[in-house]
């Protein structure tokens, strides 16, 4: 019996052996089979060998198609790419524009991180590190006591320096001028290795108490206020009424630590209070030779752990209650120098935050949308090139060769787009920050760098694959016969198949997500814009200042704080004064709070622990700011006693933790996500309304308040409620502070509403940018959708002619044509809406605001309407055109 070839082998060979050589390989498989038969092998053996040959051949052909050398691009391909651009100028223009917008948006997050996370000038190896603490996710500065201890104990650092920012009031011949400056140790200039341009930098003996007052000024200040006077050194200067002498001018590029222009010697009256005591300082240093950042971190953490152990045992023996400012859950960190200026909620910086990955993905989404849309347009265009591909295949070009050509063709477009996008990024990043009034640290360079250019080219290659090669794979995935048949058929009823459907569905889904999120952002802006009715705080009448008393003596600090509050209350224009660690609408530190589950009548709607924002407030805080309590009582002197463990919560937290039950008398305590011990139980004595615990969501977050006595915390924030413009009172506050304590310093005097406005304008600028981007993407999506749908419909002209000739109802034909588009749009909407909703609610924290879901819904309806309108138009126009053609004409023309 003559054996027959293995069916599986034949099937696999037919499926997988593709390309120009396929017919010859298939022929050789038959020849080999016939040869085995003629040798007289057993039928089973012949079939087994045939199957093995077929499988191995399919594998060889696929391996060959993936061979890198088959993807050799050439100058001819580049020339073909340029010729394609000239031949299809509008398609090329649209593609370049779309990608030139998407690429810089996709690059922006990493570019920003690269710009931020740079070593300081003159420290290319990043050996200058900052030393600080972290408590949970909150960054905490060191203190004068820490600095004194570290300077004598740490061996990992060759030199340590400390500074604290201050706003210096210069007396320029009667006119006041506020200049950002720092009080710093002289070692700062040694570590940064920057000599003065004129005169000298600060010296160690300038820090001595009683030494003559000296100041070093910056180049910009020297030019602007002193006309670049070359004899400035030795000239007297009045700072807050106190005479100083200018001893040096720094070079133009030096603005340490951010954009500062004045450096005073740091004089600490005492630093003997031990670690975690004294004035707050920023500490940094240079690693000793041979010391790695990790070993320095280990040394600092060892020191901190031993201090924490000692602190715990001392508190236990003394019977003191836990102090939030102690070593409880405190971790020491030795971090890169850019942490001097940016306080991210993670020692690892922006890259380590999970939110950053989300932002990166979201920022790449527009580029993906652009690629999909350009891909749709390319698909429409490449379908008209089916005959070209078929001819090239017939002439011996392999599939890899054609794909290489298409890749290079599109790469030419993508590289042009990447170039334009990089220029946009370079131009936009600096100007955007300037327009928003954001001053970056002097060592940050927002210009293009090599890493960003390389990433841009990688994105361009990705775009070329998604938008160019994927459609080409679709167009070339057939044998010569099929390609030729397809090329002939493309003049009639050819379809683009499942790929176009999938792209349209994805396109619509992503457009719906983008529009929904943009609507959500807009809703957030509307919901966030503060007003007196949102939280009852008259922020435009409240002056916020920071009072810093540089002393480690609690009594000294307490006296100064109490005296200044009393002096301010005596001012005629002041309505009320109070103090806290954070004022309404400022970002309050986040803590984890646990609710006492053992108490009776537990009916909490949520399990906890809860992320809450906390502040320590003066006992008269609510009275002074005219905030009546919703339930219970406010703080009084009883709550300042050692054994008093009381807390006041806001209504949002009360509702979330206790539902409709009465929270008064219930207990909560601070907890942690790691194994550190929990804080003591605190009894809720009052509930207050929303006062704003977060800059961007002032009336939505959970908040709790702990009592604060004078001297407990240094520095503190003062809230001064005035009649009239609060900014006018700022100079008077400086005077009163000096009168109370000559060493006391007032920093950051700013009306509360202005403090918030900066954040709000930033958010609004972001939303406007996002809206513009979404608008461009929507236009692109609409044009791509129109192109692909109208192409699909116009390719059915012959079919429509036949159906009309056979007497089909014209409305039925039109309905049939539109049905597919509507199904695709519907699938896209169903796919996209849940993502849009999830993104809005999960990541934008849009809870509890009525206008936000409305904005999301409105935006989604708008996006769906636009897409439907485009689809109906794209289907209707070519369908009506086809219906108007006489059936015989249509058949003659297309046949």
């Amino acid at each position: 019996m003559t054996p027959r070839r293995s069916r599986i082998g034949r099937l696999l060979a037919a499926l997988f052996i593709r390309g120009a050589e396929a017919p010859f390989i298939l022929r050789d498989l038959e020849d080999s089979f016939n040869h085995d038969v003629s040798r007289g092998l057993a039928p089973a053996e012949v079939r087994r060998r045939d199957l093995r040959n077929s499988l191995a051949s399919a594998g060889s052909v696929w391996a060959e198609s993936l061979r890198l050398s088959a993807w050799r691009p050439s100058l001819v391909d580049v020339r073909l790419g340029l010729r394609t651009i000239v031949r299809t100028p509008w398609l090329s223009f649209v593609a370049v524009c779309a990608l030139a917008i998407g690429i810089p948006v996709g690059l922006a997050p990493m570019h920003a991180v690269d710009a931020l996370e740079r070593p300081l000038p003159g420290d290319p190896d990043g050996r200058i590190r900052t030393l600080c603490y972290w408590r949970d996710t909150v960054h905490e500065h060191a203190t004068a006591g820490d600095y004194a201890l570290w300077r004598t104990s740490l061996r990992s650092f060759g030199a340590l320096a400390a500074y604290r920012p201050t706003t210096v009031n210069l007396d320029m011949g009667g006119a006041g001028l506020s200049v950002p400056g720092i009080e710093t140790t002289a070692s700062t200039f040694g570590i940064l290795r920057t000599p003065a341009m004129l005169g000298r930098v600060l010296r160690d003996d300038d820090e001595r108490s009683g030494a003559p007052g000296v100041v070093v000024i910056g180049h910009d200040l020297w030019r602007a206020q002193f006309g670049g006077d070359p004899d400035i050194v030795g000239r007297p200067l009045l700072i807050s009424g106190v005479p100083f002498s200018v001893v040096g001018v720094m070079p133009p590029a030096f603005r340490f630590p951010t954009s500062h222009q004045l450096w005073l010697p740091l004089r600490m009256p005492d630093d003997g209070g031990g670690p975690r005591s004294g004035a707050t300082l920023v500490v940094f240093g240079k690693l000793s030779d041979g010391v790695t950042p990790d070993s320095a971190q280990a040394e600092l953490q060892t020191l901190t752990s031993s201090l924490a152990a000692g602190d715990l045992s001392r508190r236990s023996s003394d019977g003191e209650k836990a102090d939030p400012d102690s070593f409880h859950r405190l971790r020491a960190a030795v971090l890169p120098a850019w942490h001097l200026s940016f306080y991210f909620p993670s020692p690892g910086g922006l890259r380590a935050l999970p939110e950053f990955s989300l932002v990166q993905v979201l920022m790449l989404a527009p580029l993906f949308v652009a690629c999909v849309n350009v891909g749709l347009l390319i698909l429409a265009q490449t379908s008209t090139r089916a005959s070209e591909f078929a001819l090239r295949t017939a002439l011996g070009a392999g599939r890899g060769r054609i794909l290489t050509q298409v890749f290079v063709e599109f790469m030419v477009l993508a590289v042009m787009a990447a170039g334009a996008g990089l220029l946009i990024l370079d131009w936009f990043s600096g100007r955007l920050l300037t327009a928003l009034g954001i001053t970056l640290p002097y060592w940050i360079d927002t210009g293009l760098n090599a890493a960003t250019v390389v990433r841009g080219l990688v994105l361009a290659a990705g775009c070329a694959v998604i938008a160019g090669v994927v459609p080409a794979i679709r167009m070339t995935g057939r044998s010569i016969d099929a390609n030729i048949k397809r090329a002939r058929a493309s003049r009639s009823g050819n379809r683009l198949g499942g790929l176009s459907s999938a792209l349209i569905v994805i396109d619509v889904a992503v457009a719906v997500v983008a529009i929904g999120v943009a609507g959500g952002l807009w809703g957030k802006v509307l919901a966030t814009k503060p007003s007196v009715t949102s939280d009852g705080i008259r922020s435009e009448e409240i002056l916020s200042v920071t009072l810093d008393v540089p002393s480690s003596q609690r009594q000294h600090v307490a006296r100064a704080q109490a005296a200044l509050v009393e002096r301010l209350r005596g001012e005629p224009d002041v309505r009320a004064v109070t103090f806290a660690t954070a004022l309404p609408r400022m970002d309050h530190p986040v803590r984890l709070m646990d609710v006492d589950r053992d108490a009776a009548a537990v009916a909490a709607p949520a399990a906890g622990p809860f992320k809450v924002r906390t502040a320590r407030i003066a006992i008269d805080f609510f009275d002074e700011l005219a905030q009546p309590l919703v339930a219970g009582r406010g703080f009084d002197s009883r709550d300042l006693k050692e054994d008093a463990d009381t807390i006041i919560v806001n209504t949002t937290f009360a509702q979330r933790a206790f539902g409709s039950t009465n929270p008064i008398g219930r207990r909560v305590r601070q907890t942690t996500s790691d194994r550190a011990p929990d804080g003591p139980w605190l009894e809720i004595v009052g509930v207050v309304g929303h006062m704003g615990v977060h800059a961007l969501t002032p009336s939505q977050d959970d908040g709790v308040y702990l009592p604060l006595a004078e001297g407990d915390v240094n520095p503190v924030r003062l809230a001064i409620w005035v009649r009239g413009d609060p900014a006018v009172l700022a100079p008077r506050v400086h005077e009163l502070a000096r009168a109370v304590d000559p060493t006391a310093r007032i920093a950051m005097p700013i009306p509360l509403d202005e403090m918030f406005e900066g954040d709000w304008y930033l958010l609004r600028a972001f939303v406007v940018g996002a809206a513009l981007l979404v608008g461009v993407l929507l236009s692109l999506a609409a044009s791509a959708l129109y192109a692909i749908l109208s192409l699909v419909v116009s390719q059915r002209t012959r079919e429509i002619g036949i159906r009309v000739a056979l007497g089909a109802n014209q409305w039925a034909i039109a309905r049939d044509v539109a049905r597919r588009a509507v199904v695709q749009i519907g699938a896209g909407v169903l796919l996209g809406l849940p993502f849009a909703g999830a993104l809005c609610y999960e990541f934008l924290e849009l809870t509890g605001s009525g206008s936000v879901p409305g904005a999301v819904a409105m935006a989604s309806v708008l996006g769906v309407s636009v897409m439907l309108l485009v689809s109906v138009t794209a289907c209707t126009v070519p369908t009506l055109r086809a219906l108007r053609i006489a059936p015989m004409d249509a058949l003659r023309k297309e046949g």
């Binding site: 050789d28 020849d31 040869h35 040959n53 391996a63």
Partner: protein, 112 residues
């Protein structure tokens, strides 16, 4: 002179030996008959494609012969460059093998 891999050498020897009748199926049978090595038809064709790119062989499509779907065979012939490279490869192997065959045989015997 370009480097030739082992399979490329085998195929070029087969093309030379088969003369005007060097198509994939015949080459495969020739290699198996002479060396006992089974090479898939796909591997032979892709290797011949690569050799053609390097201009070591030249292919021509034959007239369709009876068979499934009337598929044609593709016949290959050695080019002068291919002949030079194959000769050089063979010479290299022979010179490298000179004087070591006895030693190889002795070593192989030890392993038995």
């Amino acid at each position: 002179m370009g480097h030739l891999g082992e399979l490329e050498q085998l195929i070029l020897f087969a093309v030379t030996a088969l003369g005007d009748n060097a198509y994939g199926g015949a080459i495969r049978a020739h290699i198996e008959g002479r060396s006992g090595r089974i090479v898939s038809s796909g591997a032979i064709n892709t290797t011949l494609g690569r050799l053609a790119e390097r201009r070591l062989v030249v292919g021509r499509v034959g007239t369709p012969v009876p068979g499934r779907a009337g598929r044609p065979r593709k016949y290959y012939a050695l080019t002068p460059a291919g002949a030079r490279d194959l000769k050089a490869s063979y010479t290299t192997i022979r010179s490298m093998a000179g004087g070591v065959l006895q030693r190889l045989a002795a070593l192989a015997e030890q392993g038995k």
